[in-house]
């Protein structure tokens, strides 16, 4: 099970596999849980990707075997968070309000990639659409929409007076 992780060969035009995107990588590394999962930023031809290397502890169904649905949830939420934060002029740390994830195909025990599309970056909120795939980017295994709150002075005041 330790050899299930494959390399960056599925990234479009992965001639320079693993070439880092410093901003995203720095933002990810500030998240202890992202470090624990081993999330790493890669740059493909079509933009920035987040790579989730596979390891046995991420398995949710060992009969198939398949990744745990919650692991894909984490990949989607953390990719959305870093995408929203990197888009923000002040790189404010967003708070995840909600996420809705649809599982499209079974997630095999192998490397998974995620790409974020900003649906709308507002002054106070950001809506991010994330797509996950394994071998073929055209066959996504899960998509998710994540709504994030960017802290403002007013919101911080509100926070102090209860939710």
């Amino acid at each position: 099970m330790s050899t299930i992780g494959d390399s960056a060969q599925h990234i479009s035009g992965a001639g320079e596999s693993g070439k880092e995107c410093p901003d995203w990588q720095a933002l990810l590394e500030r998240i202890p849980y992202a470090r624990h999962l081993g999330l790493e930023v890669q740059r493909g031809d079509a933009g920035v990707l987040v790579h989730l290397p596979c390891r046995e502890a991420l398995i949710g169904n060992f009969m198939l075997p398949a990744l745990h649905g919650g692991v894909l949830g984490a990949l989607i939420e953390l990719t959305a968070r870093v995408a929203a934060q990197s888009q923000d002029a002040e790189t404010r740390c967003p708070r995840i309000l909600d996420s809705h994830i649809n599982y499209l195909r079974s997630a095999k025990a192998r490397s998974t990639f995620a790409r974020a599309d900003i649906v709308r970056q507002g002054r106070r909120t950001s809506l991010v659409q994330v797509t996950c795939w394994q071998g073929d980017e055209n066959k996504p295994i899960a998509t998710g929409q994540v709504q994030l709150l960017l802290p403002t002075m007013a919101a911080q005041q509100e926070d102090r007076h209860g939710h």
Partner: protein
């Protein structure tokens, strides 16, 4: 007249424990089964520092709550059907009402709202153990009886992914 995979309710807790123990990711996060009743389960998770969402605020990453809701939801399908069959999450929607402090254990209470032959509708609340504050709610739909042939053949034939 019991179906071959049907289990007695008295054995449900033991079976649920076993199922949870067999899931590597649940084991890694330290998920425990607290109780299993007809159609409802309770699970518990003790936070650890690697689960935090930032270094400075000792706040548990929302994705840990998500994993817990997904696991408790899957177990609730089993608790509703009392039948062992492979399931798959179709979709899951989480609302994060409050930040989850890292100083308190998380409780997940998942209820099977409706069950058909093919689908199970699940609701899950995530609470903090101490003050019972509601931290997050989830609604999930699970497909039942998925990939039965692979499930049964799993021991003999591994996919060469």
């Amino acid at each position: 007249m019991a179906k071959p995979n049907t289990v007695q309710h008295s054995n449900a807790v033991a079976t649920a424990w076993q199922l949870t123990e067999q899931v590597p990711h649940g084991r890694e996060l330290g998920m425990q089964v607290v109780s299993v009743d007809q159609g409802q389960v309770c699970m518990r998770l003790t936070p650890q520092s690697w689960m935090f969402s930032q270094e400075d605020t000792k706040e548990i990453c929302t994705s840990v709550l998500y994993s817990l809701a997904d696991s408790a939801g899957g177990l609730a399908v089993f608790a509703g059907a009392l039948e062992l069959m492979p399931i798959a999450t179709l979709d899951l929607r989480m609302d994060y009402l409050r930040p989850a402090g890292g100083d308190q254990a998380l409780l997940a209470v998942a209820t099977c709202r409706h069950l058909t032959d093919e689908v199970a509708f699940i609701h899950c609340d995530i609470l903090s153990e101490g003050n019972r504050e509601l931290l997050a709610t989830a609604n999930a739909t699970f497909m039942r009886n998925t990939q039965g042939q692979q499930f049964h053949a799993g021991g003999r034939e591994r996919e060469s992914a």
